[in-house]
Symmetry: C2
Subunit: 434 residues, 2 copies
């Protein structure tokens, strides 16, 4: 079957092959990894047809004689609409530049196969999270970026003021100090007073002076809160369902793009991973670490570090591991006390995954006014969080929630080592390009 | 048909009615405006069953004898899980508090019918924009919040630095001054060098010292860029399709919630509006303003103010109006020159809508390296935007895009006067609650 196409096919040249009578182009428009093969008579050759140049091709779309593609375009006219000097262009034809090299060109790296695949996958993964929540009756809330809370008192906050204000003029724009959010949780808890299920998916910020492969100053979090929820098991179930459903959707919808990151073998291993998960308590984790041959010194009460998380994941056969019931004093003020002396744990759970470590953290929230008030008074925070106590004064319900680091999710699913390679424009200390 | 329900029905009490032998409760769980009617014997009455309290009700779900609801719950057990003191609770049963009053309680206002409806509509509208773009083959890009561009040199920027840095220690965290984004456009244009269609939907910021009903310091923008696009008409068509498709979807999926904001009459008028739009050039707009009985003094070359925008919308019969081809010197550096002396207009278009004025602004972007370079040199910006010129040096394509103010969209569709009432946590000068 042959059909006439009136509109020109447009895209960027990915390869040029010249034969005696013919030229062959691969033209890519970004809609998929696959380029359109263009076949033209040698008379249509043009020295401007270089790697990276933009072209419009008019011709006849035909069934291709080759197995690699279903169709090819027999060109009648090729128009170079945007030139690309092969000497100046930092990417070279047929060279596979590594991700670190690409990072130097944040305005151009999307033009490579590797990074355009990543961006299509990121877009599909974003859609996968939105559909998981929509299908399960969650209301999406745009929690604010600028906030007067410092949430967990984390300290590593960015502060915000108009740039035009001179140092002499020291009035706050918002009348109070304002920061970039580190989590939308407290704002989601506000919404848990009216909706049974809410979520948010947006940028969060840490002013950490870190150049690590696992941290960014600006990154995306998926956070959810569920009302009328009483058990940590029920919360863990939702976290697991979300992780499996979104991973499956990404792997199913981006087969070709994912394949660029993984061999088929790794791909099926990934599929396998999402079908099996493991659960253990923090106390069991401490025992496992104590029995390990790696000689960890890990007394009960300490916080798990990345090395411990990776060991636990490995110990369980490289599948996702849920660790539950952490020491109460390790967790922020809002975590629900299990009131199980002498240990005193909190109803909190972390999801650890292969290659990444902590991907997701959640807890039941303290809904009991008396317990929460006492805890905030101990910390001298009862005035700061008086509005938060109001949520427990008026129609308080048992509830819980979690947050997932979206970039870490992509790192885990794609096996990408450096977090800077899974976000369009990475921001970290000493780097804010464009 | 009667069926046993094992799980308790949970929600917040919206009304309590007591009769001799029975009590009637309306219990709402936030999934819709409609509450579940609970019927119980008088012996289940409890003085803690107050407006705003949280309850779990076990019982039998039955076909309701009343027309107002399909089912009702015959209660066997009612458990008050979260009390709500009617004296302290700022919202009173059967009172319809106005939106300005509600604004004082950002942590509680979602518990009112008006604001919970708004939040469900906002969530559905967000989904409507995502599906419009997904259905039309756009790749979603998370453009950065923190940026070292000041984009249009607008001046009204928020600057970002770690809060812990003392005044003495004056090194920038990112090595350069960093700001909150005012638009994702330039970052989307980066992506237009690899994808034919991209969009972003996220928070943007202006440090404007304004308390107006149309401005916020933090608001949401929907922005899109389309490659291989040559005519302003084609761009306008996409803007129109998006506006119609999303408005229709919101009106169709949130009938009950929208009805709380509009009478049925206004609802159908709104439906009518989205089916008819009007187009005129800026020059025609100037003529219309000149002929108006309102005695505008409006020489060619001035920028339209809100009063002018509203007049034009009214003049066209209160339908959305596209105004095209503005004076070149009014538009930012990236707008494409029409090169039509003596007027010298730019290929730019604004969408003006009833009740709001400017909702959406777009333009073709200057893709010609020589024209853009000359323009940036005139402004002394060629070094600052050298990376942007790179986009034109390597495989440049004709392209265009637009941005839509998401809160203004909600104001327009719902007829809400104040922008602070269509966002969960409004931020503006002197106000950053929670």
């Amino acid at each position: 079957r042959t059909r006439m196409i009136n509109l020109p096919h447009a895209g960027w040249v990915r390869s040029v092959r010249t034969q005696k009578a013919h030229i062959f182009l691969h033209v890519n428009d970004g809609s998929s990894l696959q380029s359109l093969q263009v076949v033209a008579g040698a008379e249509l050759n043009d020295q401007l047809l270089t790697f990276g140049s933009a072209v419009e091709v008019t011709g006849i779309l035909k069934k291709s004689p080759h197995q690699k593609q279903a169709v090819e375009l027999e060109a009648q006219r090729i128009h170079v609409i945007g030139e690309c000097d092969p000497v100046d262009f930092p990417f070279k034809i047929k060279e596979r530049h590594n991700l670190e090299y690409l990072r130097q060109f944040p305005h151009l790296r999307c033009r490579t196969n590797a990074f355009s695949s990543l961006l299509r996958i990121r877009s599909e993964a974003t859609a996968a999270f939105h559909s998981f929540f929509k299908d399960n009756g969650f209301v999406q809330i745009h929690t604010p970026v600028i906030t007067s809370n410092d949430c967990e008192g984390a300290g590593e906050l960015f502060q915000v003021e108009p740039s035009s204000v001179g140092d002499a003029h020291r009035e706050f724009f918002f009348s109070v100090p304002a920061f970039l959010t580190v989590s939308g949780q407290l704002h989601l808890e506000v919404m848990s007073g009216a909706f049974s299920r809410v979520y948010t998916f947006g940028p969060t910020f840490r002013a950490e002076n870190s150049q690590s492969r696992r941290h960014l100053a600006e990154f995306y979090m998926v956070e959810a809160e569920l009302g009328f929820l009483r058990s940590l098991n029920d919360l863990t179930k939702v976290m697991e369902d979300m992780f499996k459903s979104t991973t499956e959707q990404v792997l199913a919808r981006c087969v070709e793009d994912v394949d660029l990151f993984h061999s088929k073998e790794v791909f099926f291993k990934a599929l396998n991973v999402i079908l099996s998960t493991f659960r253990m308590s923090y106390s069991e984790a401490v025992e496992i670490l104590g029995r390990s041959t790696e000689n960890f010194t890990f007394p009960w009460g300490c916080d798990l570090k990345t090395e411990h998380e990776k060991h636990l994941v490995k110990h369980c056969g490289n599948v996702p591991v849920f660790v539950t019931d952490y020491p109460y004093r390790l967790k922020p003020f809002y975590a629900r006390a299990n009131q199980d002396p002498p240990q005193n744990t909190a109803a909190a759970v972390d999801l650890l995954v292969p290659g990444v470590g902590e991907l997701c953290g959640g807890s039941l929230r303290e809904e009991r006014l008396d317990v929460l008030t006492a805890h905030l008074e101990d910390a001298g925070l009862e005035d700061t969080y008086d509005w938060y106590l109001d949520l427990r004064r008026f129609g308080s319900v048992p509830h819980g929630g979690f947050g997932l680091g979206f970039e870490r999710f992509l790192q885990c699913v794609l096996g990408v080592d450096n977090i800077k390679d899974v976000i369009p424009f990475p921001r970290y200390s000493h780097s804010c390009l464009l």
